[in-house]
Amino acid sequence: MQPLLIKTFTTTTALGRGLTDTLNALRAQRSGLHAHSWETVDLSTCLGEVEGLDAVTLRADMQAFDCRNNRLAQLALEQDGFMQSVQTAAERYGRQRIGVFLGSSTSGILSSEQAYRQRDPVTGVLPASHSYRHTHNMFSVADFVRHYADLQGPAYVVSTACSSSAKVFGIAQRMIGCGLIDAAVVGGVDSLCLTTLYGFNSLQLVSSRPCMPFDAQRDGISIGEGAAFILLERANQVLAGDLVLSGVGESSDAHHMSSPHPEGRGARLAMQAALDMVGLQPQSIGYINLHGTATPSNDAAEDVGVTAVFGTSTPCSSTKGHTGHTLGAAGAVEAVICALALRHDFLPGGVGTRTPDPRLHCNYLLTNQEQAITHALSNSFGFGGSNCSLLFSRKRA
């Protein structure tokens, strides 16, 4: 497959709005996770909340889409000149030649959760103000972004749990590759909701502390929220300094609905497939952004998979200690973190981890490293055994 150019990208998470806030937090190894109350949640947990979402007002013509998830989408779209770049691309390629492919695990389900608390006590009907289609339905965020940016190409949402917004990169690569479109807005948006907080809690996968990926004492995830958008374009030529999406590897575990294969079987296949697409050897990869959720079994399975493919020397870290697990947005958020690492010649050390688990063998970074690398890999693995590894590269002079 041909590489795709990455000229413009942005992310908004608990680390802040846009790339400058994100880069500053990564450089300072600052976590956005805090124990504080949110909505009506009565669980003992830390959250990676995006500040100020309640105060975001959707653009006047987009009011029907109002919900926490689409507010987060709009807030993120308006950072780093992303919307201007999309409009420039629309003028260059035509609005019908730009696709919108976004990942989400729960869309705007919070709106239905709240509406169910306001059902008519006699008839059981939901409040008339609740617009299922524009909020809760899984397509909502792609519908919102397509209209917000006035794009007219193909669009859909990928929802494969925590690999959702990694897999959208593969769609763009295929659709551009076979000539259906010339560019795509890809990314992911997932926002806090009760379904994931109480759901992961039911599986006893939520930590009461800020999560500790790859730590000997790790005991679960911290849920975060976030959005990331990347404009991918057909690469007619790649110049020195350019960032590209070079490889995408996908696989299924075919093992269990909510536990990874203990030997990282599907994870290995996905990482190897990403390398094979580009024809790269494992030692060419300068940094791996791990899925690294901080549950005991996920990190152990990923470690087996990573060391089987890469050995034990490739620098790795999870940035979920910074952002929390942004679930369906994690693939895109971490793609942006890989792009920042490639652009700014540094590898982010994990935060939250004190004592790396001696039973895990990958080269887990606890501090930032100043280092120029050419290729970075990002892992995303989800419920249902859905795996995706993305390979990003910087053309060196």
Partner: protein, 264 residues
């Protein structure tokens, strides 16, 4: 306009009045014979009993059409990628979670939570078949059939492997039922391949178009087509029931439809 060719090697279809492709094919060839009988699904014997007990109606529907399409083809499922597409996934399961979260104790069972992921059907399919091929799960609200067909076609043109695409929708229970667009269940699967083979039923050439879409000839079937997202496949399924060299247009997004030319 880019046009991409794929080949249909198998078709699965269950909905009220459509009891598998062999039955549905005869009905669609004579649309006035359609009768909306209750939906009946075969049992899914390939899953371990423990997993089978956890399946909701939506996942059963997806797996039923997937198996029907797959068994008409000579493709080895270990080499077949999958595309699952649904507007809302398992609406019954979602409703149960919404009710629990609106109650005082908010307890959700772990099974209910892992079944709530939009890719639950894909996960169970992987467990049942043992296939580690890539699988993607999509939603495009009421445009899910077109989305899945585009995705499957672009996959086949990228990796030259067969792809099983499954679009399924089931209605929510009240109170979400009245707010969503799905009035009843409809599941369709197409086993698509990159090359014509002995098991090929028909070739299809796809392109994006702004031309207006085709509808169904009887009021009952047109109501189904326009009320259930997955049933937007009906004009194509009716054409595949009696394959002729012709071009039809399937409704996808607003002012963006799919033109499909059949090569029997």
């Amino acid at each position: 306009m880019t046009a991409l060719q794929v080949f249909v090697d198998g078709i699965g279809l269950y909905a009220p009045g459509f009891d598998g492709w062999a039955h549905a094919r005869a009905v669609l060839a004579a649309p006035q014979t359609y009768r909306a009988t209750p939906l009946e699904l075969p049992s899914i014997d390939s899953l371990p009993a423990a997993e089978r007990r956890r399946l909701g109606m939506a996942v059963k529907l997806a797996m039923s059409v997937a198996y029907d399409a797959a068994k008409q083809s000579s493709s080895d499922l270990q080499n077949v990628g999958t595309v699952f597409s649904s507007s809302a996934g398992d609406g019954d399961n979602c409703h149960q979670i919404m009710e629990a979260l609106a109650s005082t104790d908010r307890a959700i069972s772990p099974t209910r939570f892992h079944n709530s992921v939009h890719n639950a059907a894909a996960g169970y399919w992987g467990i049942a078949t043992g296939s580690q091929q890539p699988s993607i799960s999509l939603s495009a609200h009421d445009a899910g059939f077109g989305a899945a067909l585009l995705e499957a076609t672009s996959q086949i043109h990228s990796n030259a492997q067969p792809c099983l695409m499954v679009t399924f929708d089931t209605p929510y229970p009240a109170p979400l039922r009245t707010l969503s667009n799905t009035t009843h269940a409809f599941g369709v699967a197409l086993l698509l391949t990159p090359r014509r083979s002995a098991s090929t039923l028909c070739g299809l050439t796809l392109s994006l178009t702004q031309t207006s879409f085709h509808t169904m000839p009887t009021p009952e079937l047109e109501a189904m087509r326009s009320n259930v997202p997955a049933a937007r496949a009906l004009p194509l399924l009716a054409a595949l029931a009696v394959p002729q060299p012709r071009t039809l247009v399937i409704e996808y997004l607003h002012e963006l439809n799919l033109s499909i030319t059949l090569q029997p």
